[in-house]
Subunit: 352 residues, 2 copies
């Protein structure tokens, strides 16, 4: 199949770039003695998770139970779920997962820990639970090293649970703050004689600094498999490192300076990843994508010497690859201009 | 099934509110002699499209061929596709649709018209093609009444095509500009002796002013079936008019002022519809949703006298309902707290 035979808009992923991205970061981890535990939220595809494991990852990370179930069905046997769980069904599902794979969990409060304890002790299982620490992201997580120790001790006391270490999702480029939190926490655990099996950190923007924070043993990176425009703008990836692109058609050229693409927020999502603009048009790098409607993308051609005509196809690197995957049931695996496979996005939409 | 038996996050749609929303606008159209042609992009569900037709809609609008194919498969026999089409497969698919339903199309340039002509004349079909006019939205569309007439005459000359009227997607609350464009255009068509079968306008923000623009014969409204927070903020709908909500759990309360929900941009999308904030928390109306990550929603509780605990469920009206539908394979139809049906979002992800 040729790309031209597929109606736009659609998503392509270059398998050669995927392979290179996976290998490069796995090599970095090997060199620095870091365990890699890729976050599959970006691709949600079983075969890519398997490839990550083949290359040396110790397991995978899933954000939601639904994703973990799909991956376990696909044969993945070591999954970390860094999320507080609540509700009878969710706990039942977690127990069912732990019966068939090595599951580890996280929590940031004692209510969540007690819920897990009731469910896992009733099932006569013991699950490793990491304590989520807020090292500056102001999202979830205990607020201090002392609170981390307190929750870890509570987890150790609760039947069915085992303190599995610390986890954090740090804000990009804040290594000193993360280091200060971890140094204090690890010293406190040591004084108390509580072993910390793992310290899990994550985030693609900092992958090339992943080994610079002392104490971190494991790294969760997601976006690095595909990369995207936000990582290009932040200097973490170049255009040739971007594996995922959207092929779209110029549907209208109502005025000289404006092109309208046949793809908008239902193809790209509206997530800008906090940077200006909505995508990088590979064939017209001076073009500025400045707005989306649901099925329309607005492009300002003012700075373009050459300009596309209606009916022309253009290839766009989205700002944020992870949310694009989650909009499409299937993507096209390509090598160059040739479609070599159609890949189902296995865990697409598994948000619960 | 009870709502509490479903793991969060998930989408509910209240069928009583849907029915009232559909009836109220259909009654408005009947009273004012407007033909209603609902845009199914909002719900993407065949049974809701059927209900819109039963209540008096003359047909439906689909933005993409994929949506139209799903609706035609579901028995809908009159579909308007207001979009330029390019590419051999897309034209083949449009011809195939026109063989089995009453299809009407739109275009805003002569290249698109010529492409349609080649495909439809080769199939010995004649398709009505409306001319898209830019009445101020600065998206697609011819730029002047004179250009509209010129394109209409080209369409009339091309074999396989028939000039079907004018269409516009006006910006909200710009009726005088729309009126000026249409008055001039309709006068020009009259002078030239070209009948204008239909003038199609659209947009939910202006539904209660739909009949105030002279010359408009048909109206495409989408969001009105569900409504959303953007329409609440703009005074077009009240909370009780909002049929679609997301049920989510407070997964973390790391500090007194912050709650983190287990739903983010992969559940709600990041589309704010241009208003501040990311959603209306029904149980805590003073709560401010201020940020999304993919699976986390950030809520500021500073203004809340009562505050939720971890594990509590809250119900959120999203800023923009249409993009939420498109993220979920299925939604739960409810009446009050009771789940009465699980509805597949038939055309979800049909972006091409």
């Amino acid at each position: 199949m040729k790309l031209d035979d597929v109606d736009t808009p659609f998503v392509i992923v270059d398998l050669d770039v995927v392979e290179r991205n996976l290998r490069t970061f796995q090599d970095y981890c090997r060199t620095h003695g870091l365990r890699s535990r890729p976050h599959i939220k970006t691709h949600k595809i079983v075969s890519f998770a398997r490839r990550q494991l083949e290359l040396g990852a110790v397991g995978i990370t899933c954000q939601k139970l639904g994703e973990a179930e799909v991956m376990a069905d696909g044969g993945i046997d070591d999954i970390f779920l860094p999320y507080n769980l609540y509700g009878g069904k969710a706990l039942e599902r977690a127990v069912a997962l732990a019966r068939r794979i090595r599951l580890s969990l996280a929590c940031d409060n004692e209510i969540a820990a007690r819920n897990l304890s009731v469910a896992f002790s009733a099932a006569a299982l013991e699950v490793p639970v990491l304590v989520e620490c807020d090292t500056g992201a102001k999202r979830c997580g205990v607020q201090s090293p002392a609170a981390a120790l307190e929750l870890a001790l509570a987890i150790e006391r609760l039947p069915g649970l085992h303190f599995g270490g610390l986890m954090t999702y740090p804000p990009p480029r804040q290594q000193p703050a993360v280091q200060a939190f971890l140094d204090e926490a690890l010293a406190g655990f040591k004084r108390r004689g509580v072993p910390v099996e793992a310290v899990s950190s994550g985030g693609t923007p900092d992958i090339w600094q992943a080994a610079e924070v002392r104490g971190v043993t494991e790294y969760r990176a997601g976006t690095y498999i595909y990369n995207d425009r936000s990582l290009m703008v932040r200097g973490v990836a170049s255009e040739r490192d971007c594996a995922l692109k959207v092929v779209t058609t110029v549907t209208s050229r109502p005025v000289a300076e404006r092109a309208i693409l046949d793809a908008g927020s239902k193809t790209f999502s509206s997530d800008t990843s906090g940077i200006a603009g909505f995508g990088h048009v590979c064939e017209f790098p001076a073009a500025k994508m400045y707005k989306f409607n649901e099925e329309h993308g607005y492009v300002d051609l003012t700075e373009c010497a050459e300009r596309p005509s209606v009916g022309d196809r253009v290839t766009v690197i989205p700002n944020h690859a992870c949310v694009v995957s989650n909009l499409h049931d299937a993507i096209y695996a390509v090598r160059g201009r040739e479609v070599v496979d159609t890949l189902r996005v296995d865990a697409r939409g598994r948000s619960n």
